[in-house]
């Protein structure tokens, strides 16, 4: 009985430590994504970028954070005070929640205890991600409405309709991956890719659809219509100031990082190290660490791709965006799913 309790407590502590580490990692990556964004923008526009705070401007994100914290906090008198504060909170919570089901690495041994580098390996892993993504719109909607500003509301409605439209194609492209793997657990999806090769080779079209939808879900250019300055002044966070605005901006970068990690996990083998047989060195700490670093590299590459696109392609018009989502991506994803299902069925019955 005591042994059982001790084991239970150890697991609890282990999970708490893991949650703290992962959320901190996500925050730090998001922090330096802002720096990377400005540097990449500067590079693409033939500028220098931030170079004053620290060597190469490396302390710039800290300076930005301090600035946001020190700014005056303004809550408009005509706003719904509680919902106005709830908005950025929800944006931040939904941004970090997805990280719970992502396998960040294989297992590692700590003093004879096998510790999986995943917070929760639930049997509906992919659907959980999908659920959290579908909740992501509340931060924008509630914040935009509570501001009591027509531009904010317009931006919030735009954001919500855009996210709902692109969720469908995203879900259908995910289904094709699930048909190949045959399981919803994230860890099984990664292991399947280790054994049979990365999903992106089986599902190139599915990956493309997923990538475009991820851009739209993160409100990144060319889909950043909720933040279209020239039409909406500033977007759904127009009335926000100080760190509440910071939370909205920050949540976007966390979303970008998490969607990079999700794409790496679903299509690029997760923590799989290319051209290397992990099974031969299973359980050793350096393989776990290398796998984690590999996953981070894959995520960083996709963040770079997001930024590259942002500073290269102009914004869509709203009707173009809806056309692409409903008439372009959705039928394409449906066809992709049907063909995948037929091929999987044919291979299984052969």
């Amino acid at each position: 009985m005591y042994l059982l309790l001790a084991d239970w407590l150890l697991t609890l502590i282990e999970k708490f430590v893991l949650i703290a580490v992962i959320v901190t990692t996500a925050l730090i990556v998001a922090m330096y994504s802002t720096y990377a964004e400005r540097k990449i923008a500067a590079f693409l526009q033939d500028r220098v970028g931030p170079n004053r705070a620290g060597p190469f401007g490396l302390l710039q994100p800290l300076a930005d954070g301090v600035k946001l914290f020190m700014k005056e906090e303004i809550i408009p008198l005509t706003s719904s005070r509680f919902l106005f504060i709830l908005g950025p909170m929800l944006a931040m919570i939904t941004a970090t929640m997805t990280s719970a089901v992502i396998p960040w690495g294989s297992t590692i041994d700590i003093a004879g205890r096998v510790v999986p580098l995943q917070i929760a390996d639930i049997n509906i892993g992919v659907l959980y991600i999908f659920g959290v993504v579908s909740l992501g719109v509340y931060g924008i909607m509630i914040g935009g409405w509570a501001s009591n500003n027509k531009f904010s509301l317009l931006a919030a409605v735009r954001g919500a309709s855009q996210m709902i439209s692109y969720e469908l194609a995203m879900g259908l492209s995910l289904l094709a991956v699930l048909l190949i793997v045959g399981d919803l657990r994230m860890s099984v999806i990664v292991n399947h890719q280790m054994a049979h090769g990365w999903n992106v080779f089986y599902q190139p079209l599915g990956f493309l659809i997923f990538f475009v939808c991820a851009l739209a879900e993160c409100n990144r250019t060319p889909f950043d219509l909720p933040e279209a300055e020239n039409e909406l002044n500033f977007g759904y966070h127009q009335e926000y100031s100080s760190m509440k605005l910071g939370f909205y901006l920050f949540a976007e970068y966390i979303n970008m990082f998490i969607s990079g990690v999700v794409m790496a996990t679903l299509f690029f083998g997760g923590y799989d190290i290319p051209f290397f047989n992990e099974a031969a060195h299973a359980g050793t700490w350096w393989v776990g660490l290398l796998g984690f670093l590999c996953l981070m590299t894959k995520a960083a590459l996709s963040i770079f791709l997001f930024m590259w696109i942002r500073w290269t392609i102009p914004r869509f018009r709203f009707d173009q965006l809806m056309n692409l989502g409903w008439r372009g991506l959705l039928p394409l994803a449906l066809i992709n799913m049907l063909i995948t299902a037929a091929v999987v069925l044919w291979l299984n019955t052969k």
Partner: protein
Amino acid sequence: MGITQLLFWILAIASLFSALMVVTSKNPVYSVIWLIITFFTISGHYVLLNAQFLAIVNIIVYAGAIMVLFLFVIMLMNLSKETEPQKNKWLRLIGALAGGCLMLVLVAALKDTAGKDAELGTGSIGLIQNLGSVLFHDYVVPFEISSILFLSAMVGAVVIGKKEERTGPREGNRQLVEDAKESMGV
């Protein structure tokens, strides 16, 4: 009291409270937000019954999609006490009566299930594999028929949405110009 039982009581109280708040909230936006919380607590109950698939689908479909549309409509209508037509006393009474009848039926239906206790954490029908084989094997015909029903509803929604395009603003303007011309005798 085990941990499952404790969780059940917390969830039950939370779901009853949030459901009451849906009805009693003055502002419809707050009502919708309480309804979202109600869906979350119901999903919690599903998890306790070891039906993770139902739990997450409940969140994706109801909290993630349908409630967003509700919020959408209510936010755009900008309802308030001044603009919203207040229902009269009799309508409220009849509404309460109808709700009471529904509750009576539900209680009557649940009265005979005393011997059948819920399987806490041991049942497996809510898992995705079992649910899939039940829906697509045992009940495949009713399932497909209901999907046709959904399809017809979707087609109906598209048809209703399309109808408004015919009387666009430009055509209306043209009509106005014609009328004006006629009245002036041109």
